[in-house]
């Protein structure tokens, strides 16, 4: 009896191992099955004349979320902001001088006007200056008379919003300085509504990020090519935008003319800054601030950022970098040619 019992227990213990192996196989297959169901998805496309990149992490319907988020951005472009599509709200306003719009666009324009008022150098009517300087057509340096005339026009430009009736007086509306940030806002809002927890949206130089862990967001090297970055910013749950003079510009007689205009001078911005990166909790704001600070220059630019509780990274033409106190521990410089100092 004792021997038999012993035999049984040996038998039993022998049977457990293949059983364990089967469980292990089942576990591995279940894990890989579920991990294939909740995978990372991404989509790349173009809107607003810029590359759009959307990543959604760890969701079952990641691909659908990506394409719907892109569709939202594409819609904002087509329906409202585009100045190449003739039926957009901006094109209609610039052509007809008036528009009966939906609530979204009327509210949005109000928000843009409130932001624009914060900086004398920033204007929503840069369209005419861009046209005069032939920014999208190889570039042209106008005569002083031409510049003076466009400045006079700019001063008389205004926008009137009466509930949903919008009218424009004397000027060409151009929302290119805020639109890419707005596109990030819209895409992130959509993804949040779908309960997505980890996602990144990039539209041109603007990024919107939601997630538990900080993302590695590279900051373009203003002196390098499309893939070069001089620093990495580790942040999440925020919006990041960069404006600079190094991507879209033209050169005449050894002078570089950027596509960003100073509304005070009527000329492309000329100062000691080459790029401005802003971190804020709203994409339209970060995009506005990066352009406005680039126009304002260092001193009044930093004051403007403070007014909105936004953080900045300003790169000067001499490769010195100014960073807000709040960002200094989140920023890693990976190019020794750049020297970092913290804004007091």
């Amino acid at each position: 009896m004792v021997w038999n019992n012993g035999g049984d227990s040996v038998k039993k213990s022998k049977n457990i191992v293949p059983f364990l192996a089967i469980i292990l196989v089942v576990v591995i297959f279940t894990v890989s099955f579920f991990s294939s169901m909740t995978s990372d998805a991404e989509a790349s496309n173009f809107a607003m004349g810029s590359p759009v990149h959307i990543k959604v992490y760890g969701e079952r319907n990641g691909d659908d979320f990506c394409s719907n988020a892109f569709e939202r951005i594409s819609f904002i472009d087509r329906a409202y902001l585009s100045h190449t599509i003739a039926t957009s709200a901006v094109s209609t306003l610039n052509r007809d001088g008036k528009l009966v719009s939906d609530k979204w666009f009327a509210d949005y324009l109000n928000e843009c006007m409130n932001l624009a008022e914060k900086s004398d150098c920033f204007t929503l009517f840069s369209g005419e200056m861009k046209k005069l300087w032939k920014i999208e057509d190889g570039g042209y340096v106008p005569t002083n008379e031409e510049i003076a005339k466009s400045l006079e026009n700019l001063e008389n430009s205004s926008l009137k919003i009466d509930s949903n009736s919008i009218s424009i007086n004397n000027g060409l509306l151009d929302l290119g300085a805020l639109g890419k940030g707005t596109a990030c806002d819209e895409a992130i809002n959509y993804l949040k509504k779908q309960n997505v927890e980890n996602a990144l949206v990039t539209v041109g130089g603007s990024v919107g990020a939601i997630g538990k862990e900080p993302y590695k967001i590279g900051i373009r090297n203003p002196f390098g090519t499309q893939n070069d970055y001089f620093a990495v910013l580790g942040v999440t749950d925020c919006f990041v935008s960069t404006s600079g003079d190094y991507e879209k510009y033209f050169e005449k007689d050894g002078i570089r003319y950027s596509h960003i205009f100073d509304a005070k001078t009527g000329k492309p911005v000329q100062n000691d800054v080459t790029s401005v990166t802003v971190v804020a909790d709203n994409g339209t704001l970060s995009d506005f601030l990066s352009t406005a600070i680039f126009c304002e220059g260092i001193e009044s630019g930093i004051a403007l950022a403070d007014e909105f509780d936004a953080e900045v990274i300003i790169v000067k033409k001499d490769k010195s970098v100014l960073v807000s106190e709040e960002l200094k521990d989140k920023l890693t410089i990976n190019d020794d040619n750049f020297s970092l100092s913290v804004i007091e």
């Binding site: 191992v17 293949p18 192996a21 292990l24 893939n227």
Partner: protein
């Protein structure tokens, strides 16, 4: 008394583990490669290996070249020529974008230091 786990059982367990781990690597390796993808409107229209002789391809107004294991944009029908100024790429995750023509050239795969996003 016999041992609770025999040598054969142990081998079986190890085999199961190897199959499992190999499976995971098989799935992950789909992301790696030394290929350049040329995309129009986000859709891949052409995939070229980085290895091979000099090659020139004109897609959507953009002339993409392969030379010495790198790719670059030689010419483009666009006003800003940002893509032509982008230089040569060969590392996983790098890309060249021609926004006016809605063309992107991307090196597939992942590398350790890869960024999640780029602002600028």
């Amino acid at each position: 008394m016999k041992k609770l786990i025999t040598k054969k059982d142990f081998i079986l367990l190890i085999l199961v583990l190897i199959v499992g781990v190999a499976g995971i690597f098989l799935v992950n390796s789909a992301n790696k490669g030394t290929m350049a993808e040329i995309k129009v409107d986000g859709e891949t229209v052409e995939t070229i290996s980085l290895d091979g002789e000099y090659l020139e391809k004109e897609i959507g107004g953009v002339t993409v070249c392969r030379e010495n294991g790198e790719v670059y944009v030689k010419e483009a029908v666009c006003p800003d020529k940002v893509c032509v100024r982008s230089g040569r790429i060969s590392k996983a995750g790098e890309g060249i974008i021609c926004a006016p023509n809605r063309v992107a050239v991307e090196i597939g795969g992942k590398n350790e230091n890869q960024l999640d996003a780029l602002t600028g």
